[in-house]
Assembly symmetry: D2
Homo-oligomer: 351 residues x 4
């Protein structure tokens, strides 16, 4: 039985880790860390766990925690994990960090986009970017996994095979994305009140959302060169879900003709044909967030526009599962040599 500790257990991502671990046959949560609710019963904060979780919240002491658990999930604001991690801790436990602290390899980009100093740059190189479908071999032996962002996971996986196979012109790539409100966290802010969000939608972080460099870095590896994109997130009135709609100009094939629908489908099949959590919907079938709610699935569809020479690619995930806690558990499974879908074979909840 893998002993799990969570730092930040009372945020939405933290609570989702609890939900997933409760359905996991080989792991159990033994430490519900939450600075704000120390000594309060966890189920008094999240009533869904009433009668299921009897534990109280503990503090965020990573040193103490490292002695009691096999793996620590940090579901905390940026900066916290970097400020706590050290060699002794890493020698004892695996860390899966759901914050952005170890996602970007270039510390100056981190400090520019997040506007805070990085407290543990010495571990950036070692950290493995935990996008399971792309990096699973590296993840296996990692001590520190940087769990990807929610927008990032969806945006990268949707475009990755076409970038890798040089089917699209990466200088034209635009990612326009929609997110449910749980992505904004559980902090008490006027902007996230029911009446402010309901019956409305809005763009935010235009040209400067922090997931932009993360998408650019990872797709840059796939392309073998630097990539700059436009990424525009929007808030829409629903609890969960991310939908990314991506635009790019198709690159001609060697014979000068444009890639066909079959070429595109073949590329997706090549990279994802055996992936349990990626569902290729194909040409003209588009993802909808309702079909992935509560699950670890990534649904991907596309359409070529012959008039403009562009392809429109669309991906959908549940931001709290594949976009956060689900991928974190998938990373845990890889780290501990379990079948990757252990505890994650969840049917999406509809309606």
């Amino acid at each position: 039985m893998i002993k799990v500790g969570i730092i930040g257990a009372t945020g939405y991502a933290g609570a989702e880790i609890v939900r997933l671990i409760m359905g996991h046959p080989d792991a159990e949560v033994v430490w519900y860390g939450s600075r704000s609710y120390i000594d309060e019963k966890y189920s008094s904060i999240y009533g869904n766990f009433f009668k299921m979780v009897d534990a109280k919240c503990l503090d965020d002491n990573m040193d103490a925690l490292a002695k009691e658990v096999d793996v620590i999930f940090t579901a905390t604001p940026q900066g916290l994990c970097a400020s706590l991690v050290n060699e002794e801790i890493l020698s004892k436990v695996k860390i899966i960090d759901l914050s952005a602290d170890f996602r970007l390899k270039d510390v100056s980009i981190y400090e520019k986009w997040y506007k805070i100093e990085h407290k543990a740059p010495e571990y950036i190189d070692e950290a493995v970017y935990g996008l399971c479908e792309i990096n699973r071999d590296k993840i296996k032996n990692a001590r520190l996994v940087a769990n990807p962002g929610c927008y990032t996971t969806c945006s990268i996986l949707t475009a990755y095979p076409l970038v890798k196979e040089e089917l699209i012109d990466t200088t034209t790539l635009i990612v326009d994305a929609l997110s449910g409100v749980s992505g904004a966290g559980r902090g008490a802010k006027v902007n996230n009140l029911y009446c402010e969000v309901n019956e409305s939608c809005k763009p935010y972080g235009v040209t400067n959302h922090r997931h932009t460099p993360e998408i650019e870095e990872q797709l840059g590896y796939a392309a073998g060169k630097e990539i700059l994109i436009n990424f525009t997130p929007h808030l829409v009135p629903m609890n969960r879900g991310i939908l990314a709609t991506e635009y790019a100009t198709l690159l001609p094939k060697k014979d000068g003709s444009l890639p066909t629908s079959e070429d595109i489908k073949a590329a997706y099949e090549k990279y994802y044909g055996n992936e349990e959590f990626i569902r290729i919907l194909g040409d003209g079938v588009y993802p909808e967030t309702r079909w992935v709610e509560g699950s670890n699935y990534v649904d991907i569809g596309f359409k070529i526009d012959e008039r403009t020479g562009r392809i429109i690619m669309m991906g959908a995930i549940d931001n709290l599962v594949k976009g956060a806690a689900g991928q974190a558990v998938q990373n845990m499974n890889i780290l501990f040599g379990l079948k990757e879908d252990t505890g994650l074979k969840i049917v999406p909840l509809f309606p």
Copy 2:
């Protein structure tokens, strides 16, 4: 492995049975019956099952079905199950009927409230009312289980211990209930369009909703006498969930004093203390539908008003789970001698 057939697999309750059976270790769906979608892939109708269910829809032929499965769930409009059931079928398979056909023991009440002729009154006596927590001993040996209505399950379980213990005056009982929209089914009706339901709430079926006699009959058994209640359902803009708020005047105890909060809590503990799926929240803690979503739980709270001598009892369930498919699977578990929570240990999904 229990082989499951579903008649009406493409309604919301039918699809929820599919979801639950997929997470059930000892059962599998082998017949997706749907008159409207014969030969269409099930996952083209419910995209959440894409890559999980490969089967196509079949017709509603109960005779054919009876030869292939161990249990049939009928998730169909009133009248269908009664028109299909016969001795040969009942000799081969168990039937769990999610419609109202066999819930009421008095056929004239059925025909008055449902305004259709009952096609198989000869099986009414044999049928067992499948409210698991109350009737599990009778369910064990049943051939035909009448799965309770969604409002009914919530309304009865919330009041049952207090009726049984003669703590409330049943002539004063009023049930005011709220339901999410999935309770209205998947039929294409203007009244259930998004824009008609969203940003509004409304009462309906005032004094004549069909779940009224079902509540009255079952609570009447508990009281040992006939009961007439007022039951007022309301539609509220959410997908899932039922919340019942019930009012009754407290009956004085033998010493003339009114029951206390401790008396009430003791009554709930007496009947539900060992029930896995009932969570007694207690005095002053009130159920919220968000805490049961996707699960088989019934959450119950209460408050005594000393000024008026009334008690207000409140219960919450997920209408598609404990109010339909979850209770149906719980009944299946009882019928087949499995642990009652098999496949039903589901953490409520929040947010």
Copy 3:
């Protein structure tokens, strides 16, 4: 042109007063009071007013304000209006208080239910309860109007004619009500975040909600005796709207027979037949909050249950209009001798 000052202009009720006054031909807002946003542009806080309101927020100085305006609306938390009002102010301006400070005639009940000391008990007697349809004659000459609560307005108006005409047994009266989330105000609280409220409903304030004594007092005047009721509010996921479902046992008429649907309808017609803002839907037609959204209407329907001898009465309003700002403007119209519907002839917005 009536000069209007608002204290608390940046709450939802305050903003709704601004909206209504902008459509009012004989009034204009000249003071946008908001302690929290002094010197900020009003339209930067409520983007709907961009290009329509150019003013900045001012402080809550009631003395200064009294010199500049003809009427002051206080849309503030309990206690503020009572702490500011004095003879000099009342000699200069009319005050319409949207808080509870002057609604209850018995100061001990105020202090018990609101748990604060009343700072100006000397004005309680003078203050007129601003339920326009009932009290318009008294309102005409008032200096200080206590604008009713949202639940209260809906609950009282729905039952009033039947209480007045002695058609129902007031000892049996139960009010079960649903409210949209704007009733909770614009404060940043976790409980009112989108993801906490969406897809859920819950009771709250069971037996102790502060609108209870207000309903009891006013219906008590109608009955000519003290009344105790049960009032249970519920939060439902929508922006606006209150729906009250009320239960009472019918009183036999002099001839011993129970009141009929015609008797009930006649009672509503007697009191509301000429009321512009009350729409009597009648027997078997039930109010829905969508039909009153954005308007000052009160929709009322009912149904008699001959089986139980009870009547179920239902009323719907927009909590921010007839439940707050709309009624406040209606009171202003009465105070200044204008036609009562001036600026309030608003078609409900649907969908």
Copy 4:
């Protein structure tokens, strides 16, 4: 008093025309045409009009109608207006067609995208495209106004000044748009049921939505050349609102430098500085649909991304007002020589 007849008065756009005309000082609806509800009271279909509209629905007889009214609004499916219009009718009344029948100048494009034969191609040339801010001079003397589509209005107005001023490369223009559900109309379809739409978002009509050629044609006039764009609509769970997010590469100015934020703002001011219904939010302030709900406003914001050389432009409207009925009334005002904002000075409803 302008006499107004509506064909298709019971659809969402038709009902919104009724709402707006009721607030219009110089017009009144005298014919509520609705093939589906002949002889039913209009207020029994739209309860918001109870006590406000006493009329019954009439049939769709345009010849009869032409004798009784001054202007006809056709809020009907494509093809109907074209099949009814003729010289005699046009000689008697003004027609404002909310369908697509006369929006596209090239009949072959109409027939290709709408897949129906055009029944009155002889009036295409005469018809004036009713985008008020661009075409008001031509509208003044029109007999037949083609009221623009909802997505179209928002998409064109957001990009128009930048196209006109040659600030963007029109070959790179991409429009990604979100719409509330009322845009799908009031037809009873499973896809538009509450539970299917709620808690989800989805793209649709990718590369082939019918508003595409309309946007291309109108922006083509502004550019003085043919334009091909990608337009991707998405359905999001809210009643009203359209948000368009548009991407284009900036064109260098004559001196070789890229346009600045000031250049962009100047272009918007040049074309819209005096427009009552267009609100230029400016650089870094983004539109949100909540701020325009119920009103005729178009809110526009933008952001330049110097890293990629692109501009992101964003516009928001209420799809039923500026996207349909509001613009139709604005066109009526122009046709009849009224002030353009008559009856349309509506404060957006929030929350």
